[in-house]
């Protein structure tokens, strides 16, 4: 599949797909004509990247995260102490974001639930499971 298709399926612009590649977050094989070629996994990867970036994760960190996932297989990975510290720091940053967003999610949900338009909650029904603890 070519760039236009992957962009459409992932819901981003082709510009961004190229940008992600330029930032080393994504690799594409090239056809003999020079066109980038992708598969379904790439669509998922692009979606993942876009989500992370929209969540305020800098592309530099996104790259690290993707590498961690790619290397998820390794049973007992080894990394310099400094890297582990950095990751731990990023981890708390991410945890803080989650807590913060969870709070806002609850705020919106509670608000909507009390308006006369509570119905929109079930329309845009997503995962209206039990309120998860703020973690």
């Amino acid at each position: 599949m070519r760039i236009g298709e992957v962009a459409r399926q992932a819901g981003v612009s082709t510009r961004l797909v190229r940008y992600y590649e330029q930032q080393d977050l994504l690799a594409a094989t090239r056809g003999s004509n020079g066109y980038r070629e992708y598969d379904e996994d790439d669509v998922a990867r692009v979606q993942h990247i876009a989500s992370l970036v929209q969540s305020g994760i800098a592309t530099k960190l996104v790259k690290e995260l993707l590498e961690l996932e790619d290397a998820a297989a390794e049973a007992r990975p080894s990394c310099p102490r400094a890297v582990a510290d950095m990751l731990a720091t990023e981890l708390v940053g991410i945890e803080e974001r989650i807590a913060c967003l969870s709070r806002s999610r609850d705020t919106i949900r509670d608000y909507l639930a009390r308006t006369e338009h509570a119905a929109v909650l079930s329309e845009h029904a997503h995962d209206l499971g039990a309120r998860s603890p703020v973690e």
Copy 2:
């Protein structure tokens, strides 16, 4: 307390505090000398704003969220259908970010737990409760 102190306590630059005020996210009383004056609640508000912005929430939306929280008291708020729809849309956006960040959090945790530096997890100990479901 003045701007330098609130900025220090909230962990942001004074520049940002003024920026937030300019974006109507924050209000300050003014002393007779023209200096902005804040209290502890403002520190919390600034921290909250900064967290939201760092989570990729645009200031325009942050403003909406803060207004919702401020108006949390109203028992049965009324809002135009269009506003409710907009909030519902933002809600799913936020839920997606939470899911995405939760996944990355798990990735980092799992990775660190398998390295020889698993200790950093308890050092930067934060809330190491049971892994919450990805919601």
